[in-house]
């Protein structure tokens, strides 16, 4: 069965139509269709190797698709699964570099995000000295600091402690309420009740999935 989830929404900021992708003979995506409207928090779950990261990398233009159509309207933010950072630079130097990339006048929002994610104390710390969780916080901050309208997050809470995990969801809800469209990809459906929609990517196809609420302490990221 092919995944063909079209919620029929007009004004979608992210429109994905019948996207197919193969790595040589192995078909990873078999016709994925998806719409993301403003102010929507959507999750995609799937087992390891299901093609979630491949889909996200296609959406940001990191990978070519074999066929299909992807259209994104709005400032895009992308948090890759692996922390793409530079060990030679400090946290603040990363922010300065991306400030120029995004063309931002100030780092006010970036510093605010560091506060929210509780890693403001590490601003002058070199990346090589940071824990995996703190690196992930910076990875996420770089995706959010320019106030994107479409946010694509690939396993964004990897390595977070429980408090930060909860703060992440609070932040996601705030952004959603402000009109940001968020697509969260994860291998497990933690706290999926926090999402507006949940899809499962299985055998290269996208299907609607049931949302569940995780109990505190039981489903730590």
């Amino acid at each position: 069965m092919e995944g063909s989830l079209d919620n029929g929404a007009n004004g979608a900021v992210l429109r994905v139509r019948d996207v197919r992708k193969s790595y040589r003979r192995r078909q990873v995506l078999r016709g994925v269709t998806l719409d993301l409207v403003p102010g929507q928090l959507v999750g995609i779950v799937g087992e390891n190797g299901a093609g979630k990261s491949t889909l996200l990398r296609i959406l940001v233009g990191d990978l070519t698709l074999d066929s299909g159509d992807v259209e994104c309207r709005g400032v895009l933010g992308y948090c890759p699964q692996e922390t793409v950072l530079h060990d030679a630079f400090t946290v603040e130097q990363h922010l300065r570099f991306f400030q120029v990339a995004y063309g931002l006048d100030s780092l006010h929002r970036a510093f605010e995000l560091l506060e929210i994610l509780r890693c403001a104390d590490y601003r002058q710390a070199r990346l090589g000295t940071l824990s995996g969780g703190t690196r992930q916080k910076l990875n996420l901050t770089l995706a959010l600091m320019h106030d994107p309208q479409v946010l694509l997050l690939d396993e964004p809470y990897q390595g977070f402690d429980w408090e930060t995990y909860l703060r992440f969801w609070e932040l996601a809800a705030t952004l959603r309420d402000q009109g940001c469209s968020i697509l969260v990809v994860s291998h497990l459906a933690y706290d999926s009740a926090r999402l507006d929609c949940l899809y499962r990517l299985d055998a290269g196809t996208l299907t609607a999935a049931e949302r569940v609420t995780a109990a505190k302490g039981k489903d730590a990221p």
Partner: protein
């Protein structure tokens, strides 16, 4: 214009910070160059040996220890600068790609790499020449420094080029050693009697070596050999930068309406719009 300048200055600043954080390379540079120039000079006899200086069109008798030091210095510079540029390019590959996706113009990241290469090459060449002239005085000190600078530029370019095709630092270092071993090694008349063979003209460091040899006893400025070395440097760096551009380019094939009024480059993640289309005739 202001944004371009800001992009260039920021990228260059961070490229130099990145190099300054490569402690291993800096330690090797500080200690290896003086030790090697000393050993190459002191452990080789000062007996004059014939060396064919092509810019002068004649074979000159040059002290063996001077030639040994020149080739040794060129090889050390080649390895150190090649290693520094290889490591910097390879380690920042994914990060640079993310920056380009976020709207950073790849051209300025590439220019920053070239600028850092020029700065490093100048510093290493100056440092090496300063140590060499403690043992002997060339007729043209500036030409000797320029020859070392060219050698550093060429192997820095090779380092950038190798980083585009190799994945590990070990592989990069191994290839750099092998290339410089053949290139500089066979031009040393003490090690190889074929050092005057015209076939050597095709080697990367040939122009640098001939210029350095010219600086020992002649007042002639070998412009064509300096230009030959510069061509090698530009060619290797250009191949590396092209590979860098291909690696960091977006796979998007089309763009559509920008609803965001983004301030970053149009081709960027931060630049608001992406649309990728492929015909469905696969």
């Amino acid at each position: 214009m202001k944004r371009w300048w800001s992009c260039y200055v920021t990228a260059t600043r961070f490229a130099l910070i990145e190099q300054a954080r490569n402690r291993l390379a800096l330690i090797i540079l500080l200690f290896f160059i003086p030790v090697w120039t000393l050993l190459a000079y002191r452990l080789t006899a000062s007996t004059p040996v014939p060396f064919f200086v092509r810019p002068a069109g004649q074979s000159l008798m040059v002290p063996a220890n001077t030639l040994s030091q020149i080739t040794g210095a060129l090889q050390a510079i080649a390895l150190i600068v090649g290693f520094m540029m290889f490591v910097a390019t390879a380690r920042s590959a994914s990060f640079d790609r993310r920056l380009v996706q976020a709207g950073y113009p790849w051209l300025f990241l590439a220019l920053a790499k070239v600028t850092s290469l020029v700065v490093i090459a100048a510093a290493v060449a100056g440092y090496t020449t300063a140590w060499m002239q403690l043992y002997w005085r060339p007729q043209q000190l500036v030409l000797l420094a320029a020859s070392m600078f060219l050698g550093a530029l060429i192997y820095g370019g090779i380092g950038i080029m190798l980083a585009a095709v190799l994945r590990t630092e070990l592989a990069g270092m191994f290839l750099l050693i092998m290339i410089s071993f053949i290139d500089v090694g066979v031009q040393n008349p003490i090690a190889t009697p074929v050092a005057a063979n015209p076939v050597l003209r095709g080697l990367p460091a040939y122009g640098a070596m001939q210029s350095a040899a010219t600086s020992v006893e002649l007042h002639l400025v070998p412009w064509s050999y300096l230009a030959l070395g510069l061509c090698w440097a530009v060619a290797t760096a250009a191949i590396g930068i092209t590979a860098f551009m291909l690696r960091t380019r977006s796979r998007r094939t089309n763009t559509s309406i920008d609803l965001a009024g983004a301030t970053a480059a149009d081709d960027a993640v931060g630049g608001a719009v992406l649309a990728a289309r492929r015909s469905s005739d696969h």
